[in-house]
């Protein structure tokens, strides 16, 4: 296997690990699926829609997100997602874990 492919796979795994935290942190305010994809992209996190939508469903079934279908500004119906109170608690804890992990990794890699 070429190095490029190896690196690509590892980056994919890394990204998959952090995408839940990124989504939870962005959903402090309501977003619909496509706007969330763009928001993630604007932050430098390119996420495939086939990764994002199943993830949103999973987070909702775990009680970390809430969603409802709405028509805003006479546009087509869209499903809006927002973080739930339980999701906020989990996010706060995840942020601490993340800080600890990045600190450890910084030490390890320096």
């Amino acid at each position: 296997m070429e190095n490029d492919e190896l690196i690509q796979n590892m980056v994919f795994e890394l990204r998959r690990g952090i995408i839940s935290i990124a989504v939870l942190s962005l959903l402090g305010k309501e977003e619909y699926g496509y706007s969330l994809l763009k928001a993630l992209s604007d932050q430098g996190l390119e996420v495939d829609q086939s990764t994002l939508y199943p993830l949103l469903r999973r987070l909702e079934s775990q009680g970390l997100l809430q969603s409802d279908w709405r028509i805003v500004d006479e546009a087509r119906p869209r499903r809006y997602y927002v973080i739930s109170p339980q999701g906020r608690e989990v996010l706060a804890q995840l942020k601490k874990e993340w800080a600890s992990m990045t600190e450890s990794m910084q030490k390890l890699l320096s």
Partner: protein, 337 residues
């Protein structure tokens, strides 16, 4: 229906019905948002953009799979038992087929091209029956896949303990694979006796063709209501046990009652009129009559030991169960429920 709607419906085909409509609506909404943004440029060709967008979004089945929508006819939990049952049935069919062929080959003194021809004809003639048997097995497992709860998948969850490997198996814990195999074989025999009883018999190679002679007599069919009742109740008990996961005193006592019923049935068949017989009268005047007359005593020779075994095996099981229940009762300080 436009292309986006068709695409969402195509994804929906591979999704479970529970949340199909919801996921389809979300896919439609997202694709329309994406298309709206791309189509803002002047002179944009919406149709070409839609095609490009759908191509990027991915093959419908792959998109459905990303939602965890892989559906099984027979899932990984039942597959090993399914494979085992299939192998047993295949081995039995092959064994019976080859035995019948061997007897006929010796009887007719077949050799060379005649032997190959007869073997080839046997394979062709029995193909339909074999496929039917395998089809019924798949059907039974597909139903079990949907009836059995997921709670018996303890080994796939955190509840699984490596230390359990060293422990002696709890005698009250249901052996899932044994019960499933019993259910499948009971269903196979119920189907065989009720729907395909004409296929229970012997095959004779005569005048360059295989002839099938059914052997079940009218006396056998008089027992069918009792066989159906007993075996259906047994299947019901086994499904109940698979859902509960544990034997208890009431289920063991019900099982004992079924064993007693089986013994009674086998005894009645043993002392009553013959339940299998090669009907030589119907073959009178044909070239098969003599062969059938030769084989007639052979059928009783096989049946009697079989019925005796059908009496002895449940008796042994009843004795084992009673000993277990008595020991268990005396080893606990209060009666088990």
């Amino acid at each position: 229906m436009n292309l986006i709607e068709k695409y969402a419906a195509e994804v929906g085909k591979y999704l479970p019905s529970r949340n199909r409509a919801d996921i389809e609506a979300e896919i439609r909404s997202t694709l329309e948002d994406m298309l709206e943004e791309r189509a803002q440029a002047p002179n944009a060709d919406r149709e070409a953009l839609t095609l490009q967008l759908l191509k990027e979004y991915g093959a419908p089945r792959k998109v459905a799979e990303s939602y965890g929508a892989v559906q099984y006819l027979i899932g990984p939990r039942l597959y090993p038992i399914f494979e085992m049952v299939l192998k047993i049935v295949a081995a039995v069919l092959l064994g019976v087929g080859l035995l019948g062929f061997g007897v006929n080959a010796v009887r007719m003194d077949m050799a060379g091209p005649a032997l190959v021809h007869a073997l080839g004809k046997l394979f062709v003639d029995s193909f339909g029956g074999v496929m039917m048997a395998f089809g019924n097995i798949v059907l039974v497992f597909a139903v079990l896949e949907r009836v059995l709860p997921l709670s018996d998948q303890k080994d796939l969850t955190d509840e699984w303990e490596p230390a359990d490997l060293a422990k002696e198996q709890d005698p009250d814990r249901v052996k899932t694979s044994d019960l499933i195999a019993e259910i499948v074989f009971t269903v196979i025999f119920l189907a065989l006796f009720n729907l395909y009883s004409q296929y229970v018999g012997i095959v004779i190679f005569n005048d360059n063709q295989w002839t099938f002679i059914p052997v079940l007599t009218e006396a056998f069919f008089r027992y069918m209501p009792w066989i159906n009742l007993l075996w259906t109740l047994q299947i019901g008990l086994h499904v109940w046990l698979l859902r509960k996961g544990m034997w208890d005193v009431p289920t063991r006592l019900i099982n004992l009652a079924f064993k007693l019923g089986s013994i009674g049935l086998a005894y009645a068949m043993l002392i009553g009129p013959a339940i299998i017989k090669v009907n030589t009268e119907s073959l009178a005047g044909t070239s098969l009559a003599e062969v059938a007359r030769e084989l007639s005593p052979l059928s009783q020779f096989i049946l009697v030991p079989f019925l005796i075994a059908m009496i002895i095996a449940p008796v042994v099981e009843i004795v084992q169960t009673v000993i277990y229940l008595v020991r268990r009762r005396s080893s606990v300080p209060f009666p088990v429920k």
